[in-house]
Subunit: 420 residues, 2 copies
């Protein structure tokens, strides 16, 4: 039977919303890779009674309890006291930790206030996790068949200490590994994806298949448990094959997190440069492209034409097209893409024009009507879209469609018609 883990984050700042519980996210990823099942995350404030209650609760439903936070020098850092008491341990001074804390302040050229030495008080007989990233050491001990692990709260200390100290401690306890593969899908909603793969999602137990809605996209995660990596990978093969059989080229990547992450390397491999012309996306398309480090290797720039004068002046869109068809039209989308390539001297160009909303535009075009265009250097392709949701979603999905056009062309796929 696999071990079950509960994460308890300690800190009133979490309950006030000052920070998000990113420790829980990072540790959960690490724990599932160790083959450990996390069933609950709990967040509790700097309150001894409520922390004690949360710990007793966790001890009743998990066999590994990992706390984050509350190991620091101040009086509201009470995690060690509460957990030591809950599991009948004494806190005793740990000489080596005290030395490390003194040395830390010495290196920093800072005066150490005595309360910092509270951090060197640790549960008797625990495994000490030295803190090479801050001052408060972590620790682990077993009591009454439960394993207790305490880690510092700052993410810059919590994650490295987990990897360096807690992971080896826990690896000894876990049977087997869990591996996941995530397939990214663009062009079909979560409900429709689920409809097509319902049987697999319901029936499969190892590996499991689960869908996650990402803004405007779907992520499918295949998770397998086995004694070894190769065993887990072997279990995934037929499931991934089945998913690919059903969704085909709507799957744009494995283990990637965005279309832009896929499109930029494809351009680079082919020695192509990219430029954009944006109306309704208003810079979001370029922003997403330049979110990717090293985008400058292929990305030349984008001309955001939020008025017709700029479409005409900076992009060289023929005023007649604007007057005849309006800015939200396939003709103008194509002209914008061609104009971007011309104005910025790039081989490939993407363009977006449409109605982000709220509401229809002054021409009576409905919110969500968007045209995206791709100029390949030889031909232009245009996609007509009716995107649902608010202004933010329309802009996001419009940018994704532009990137998807490039993705399909760069991988030799036929352009798709989304205008059913």
């Amino acid at each position: 039977m696999a071990h079950t883990v509960e994460l308890i984050a300690v800190g009133t700042e979490l309950l006030l919303g000052n920070i998000a519980n990113t420790d829980a996210q990072m540790l959960s990823q690490e724990l599932s890779a160790l083959g450990l099942n996390v069933y609950y995350h709990t967040v509790v404030g700097d309150n001894p009674q409520r922390l004690r209650a949360a710990v007793e609760q966790a001890a009743g439903r998990a066999d590994i309890i990992i706390t984050t936070g509350g190991l620091g020098p101040t009086c509201d850092d009470l995690t060690k006291n509460v957990l030591a008491a809950a599991f009948g341990r004494q806190l005793v001074p740990h000489r080596e930790s005290a030395e490390r804390i003194r040395a830390y302040f010495h290196r920093a050229g800072r005066v150490m206030t005595d309360n910092n030495l509270r951090q060197a008080l640790l549960p008797q007989g625990c495994v000490v996790f030295p803190n090479d990233w801050g001052t408060a050491p972590g620790c682990a001990f077993e009591a009454g068949g439960r394993h207790v692990v305490m880690l510092p709260g700052p993410p810059s200390e919590c994650l490295p200490m987990f990897r360096a100290c807690a992971a080896p401690y826990l690896r000894g306890l876990s049977e087997g590994v869990i591996l996941s593969r995530t397939l990214r899908v663009f062009g079909m909603g979560e409900a429709a994806v689920e409809e097509k793969l319902r049987r697999e999602m319901n029936d499969l137990t190892n590996p499991t298949l689960a869908p996650y809605a990402k803004e405007g996209e779907v992520e499918l995660r295949i998770t397998a448990k086995a004694d070894s990596d190769t065993g887990a990978l072997a279990l995934m093969v037929p499931v991934e094959a089945r998913v690919r059989q059903v969704l085909g080229d709507l799957i744009y990547g494995v283990g990637v997190s965005s279309l832009e992450e896929v499109v930029l390397p494809l351009l680079e491999e082919r020695g192509l440069t990219l430029g954009c012309a944006e109306s309704c996306t208003g810079g979001l398309l370029a922003k997403r492209i330049t979110d990717v480090p090293g985008a400058s290797k292929v990305f030349r720039g984008s001309i955001i034409s939020y008025c017709n004068d700029v479409k005409e002046g900076a992009l060289g869109v023929d005023r007649k097209l604007l007057d005849t068809y309006g800015a939200v039209s396939p003709q103008v989308a194509e002209a914008m893409a061609r104009g971007a390539a011309r104005a910025m001297g790039c081989r490939v160009a993407l363009a977006t024009t449409g109605v982000a909303g709220p509401g229809a535009d002054d021409q009576g075009n409905p919110q969500g009507l968007v045209y995206t265009a791709l100029w390949t250097g030889e031909k232009a392709l245009v996609r007509k879209l009716r995107i649902t949701g608010g202004r933010g979603r329309v802009r996001l999905v419009a940018a994704s469609h532009a990137l998807d056009m490039a993705r399909r062309w760069l991988t030799g796929l036929p352009e798709r018609d989304f205008n059913q």
Copy 2:
């Protein structure tokens, strides 16, 4: 006695570390502004037994239970079923919600799979929260002295639905009125703001003063409880006066959520048009400006010049400047702003050029070195910045500085030197 709230986030993707529980962070901020005490966050997977256990747990220690997630169309969306069962309610079809979902797909010109209608099954007699940001409606009901609120999981639906529907519902439960005013601060870090206002933050009880770190900014929230709005407002006056005395013109707005929301109306009032030239922000500046509905009234466009050819060609930056000073220089920042105004025929222009990273650029300029420029139509101002943090933060803070330059000039404030 103040109500106590427990947040329960439902989703295996949270326990796998696929995403962080940002809903809990956002809702905790909103709830504390309503004067409600949040004592626990719980995260549980898409598992009916464990969700049921978490709900019963919460019912024993909180009088308001707010769930996020698990309202969608797929079969692992089980929040409504479990909570209805836990509190002895039937799920019944809600005609209006079904119509809204049908209409949502109709507007999209998309085929609606039947499982989408599961989203219109709601607990009998509940208050329905229509979803204007997606498909799954939320709801609230009272049972056995407990209030249950269910919200969708996607942050883009959860937060707006909370503000539009759940907050008014909850406000009705608390005795008296709780009002809060949020002051937005740009140009000083959270630690420094806390340092300057620590006494007020620690000592004040009604109203309370609390800081919230927002990416690159600080939000200060004054929250007062009284019998009436006027009473609550009166309590806030001296606290706001004190905060303004300390932070002065670093406070850029009250009840606003971004610099762009402040800058666009200021431009409109003066009948000014705006354009941008972006290098290191890569479209983020224009994206933020066009996030604001109606931006087209003042915003003409942005030229994202991610290479020198585009700086020269589309913005008319003198090649000599680029060769002599390099793209990351005050001279080029100014030339980009002037060039944007010229190329797009706008009166006011903002420009950014710098090193977003990762790492230094090929000229040896360090990551985080950024110049932002403002062209007012008569004169150019340039800000030199050393922005800490990773690529994402450098880009975000650089865009904020550009907007802050416009904000200060438009409100007649002297430009600030951030180059200490």
